[in-house]
């Protein structure tokens, strides 16, 4: 079946299977930033934004994305670059497999909350597992990115 969605500001039409999941659709169409880290919706790697809210693309039916606004990290390049700088300053980037997903969640948090506290950040990002960093440097980097200099 054919479906239409808006990905990173561009209208795209895909031919899909009815039970296809969005991560597979996106990856097949070269959105390489969308990667999979588990099969049980529990690692956060495949996170994308649908209408500006983070969603696990590995479990989201592609048919349901019909007419929706999809954002992958390619669609927030400037923001991702700035966040990368903050990660760099805090030494928060290691293997980076989880980073695109985190960048999208951070972007969504920024859109939805005024001045998120450290607690808000940790709560919002709890679904992003990271095995490398120990998280603290990530949280510092994200606070830096969100303009919290305390």
């Amino acid at each position: 079946m054919k479906i239409e969605m808006n990905i990173n500001g561009r209208k795209r039409i895909f031919d899909i299977r009815p039970d296809e999941l969005l991560a597979d659709t996106l990856r097949r169409h070269d959105y390489t930033s969308v990667r999979k880290g588990c099969d049980t919706t529990s690692c956060g790697v495949c996170t994308i934004l649908i209408d500006d809210e983070p969603v696990p693309s590995c479990a989201y039916l592609t048919v349901r994305a019909e007419g929706k606004k999809i954002t992958t990290v390619e669609g927030i390049a400037e923001e991702a670059e700035r966040l990368a700088g903050c990660f760099g300053d805090e030494g928060a980037d290691q293997c980076g497999f989880c980073n695109p997903g985190i960048a999208l969640s951070v972007h969504a948090l920024k859109l939805s909350a005024k001045a998120p506290t450290e607690e808000n950040i940790r709560h919002y990002l709890v679904g992003h597992l990271c095995r490398c960093s120990g998280y603290q440097s990530q949280v510092k980097a994200i606070r830096r990115y969100l303009g919290d200099t305390t």
Partner: protein, 267 residues
């Protein structure tokens, strides 16, 4: 889950009809739990677009549509006011934002999951389920039933009465199923205690509730007794997350703490 056809329902009636066409046909809520299943289905019936994702209030009740996402519940000011916001609290501790953005309340109830963090507070809140065909069924009754649900859940209804509430989820990490969960609600009608993930699905600690109902005054002593009864009168089992004994111990401790809190007593 694999399916051959996708059907976006035009109405509840349409959804219900489609559901009955083939034994394997299935309603899709958020689709998250379904994704984990190995089922092969003829037609997946999507309830999106039927206005089932609303939280509506009347004078006496709050009606939460079955397609309401956990995030919507987490961010509902209305629900935050109910019984110290225990439903909001319980939901906010389920996995991460991404998951809560997709998981629905309906999908969280229909499977009668033992691990459910939604069912336990809703049971303590004496929630009712509004089905397309069967109409209103109390959650308490629904939980005792067995077998596949062929009906469509439209909404979950709770009362707006003034109550104090307490919820506790015991877990290994912040991103985990419960080892055990406890919800306590005290309103004018009395006290309700629900204990879930024992690991069986939540149930009321009826004997403990009866003990409190019979007591003339509620003080630390009666509460301690009630908590002990909650431990002794319910069945706790062992799985790889925890042993029966530890679960029973947790049930006692948190029932006591919950009762103390809703009664404004210092533990």
């Amino acid at each position: 889950m694999k399916f051959t056809n996708y059907h976006r329902a035009q109405s509840l009636e349409d959804a219900h009809k489609t559901l009955q066409k083939d034994k394997s046909n299935t309603i899709v809520g958020g689709g998250l739990w379904l994704k984990l299943s190995r089922r092969e289905v003829d037609t997946a019936v999507d309830l999106a677009g039927l206005d089932l994702d609303l939280i509506e209030t009347t004078d006496k009740t709050i009606r939460i549509g079955a397609m309401t996402t956990l995030t919507q519940i987490e961010e509902s000011d209305t629900l935050r006011q109910i019984a110290s916001g225990i439903l909001v609290e319980a939901v906010s501790e389920i996995m991460g934002r991404q998951l809560r953005n997709v998981a629905t309340l309906g999908g969280s109830i229909i499977g009668r999951y033992g691990f459910s963090d939604c069912i336990t507070p809703l049971l303590a809140l004496d929630a009712r389920l509004d089905f397309h065909e069967r109409g209103i069924v109390s959650l308490q009754d629904f939980l005792t039933e067995k077998g596949k649900v062929d009906d469509i859940l439209k909404a979950v209804v709770i009362d707006k009465t003034k109550a104090k509430g307490y919820f506790k989820k015991v877990k290994k990490t912040a991103h985990d199923f419960p080892i055990l969960n406890v919800a306590v609600v005290k309103s004018e009608d009395g006290t309700r205690i629900a204990i879930g993930s024992r690991p069986a699905v939540a149930t009321l600690a009826q004997a403990a509730m009866d003990h409190l109902a019979a007591a003339t005054t509620i003080d630390k002593k009666t509460i301690t007794q009630a908590a002990r009864i909650a431990k002794e009168s319910l069945k706790y089992s062992t799985n790889h997350r925890a042993g029966a004994e530890y679960r029973a111990h947790l049930a006692e401790v948190y029932t006591r703490r919950g009762l103390m809190e809703v009664n404004g007593l210092e533990d």
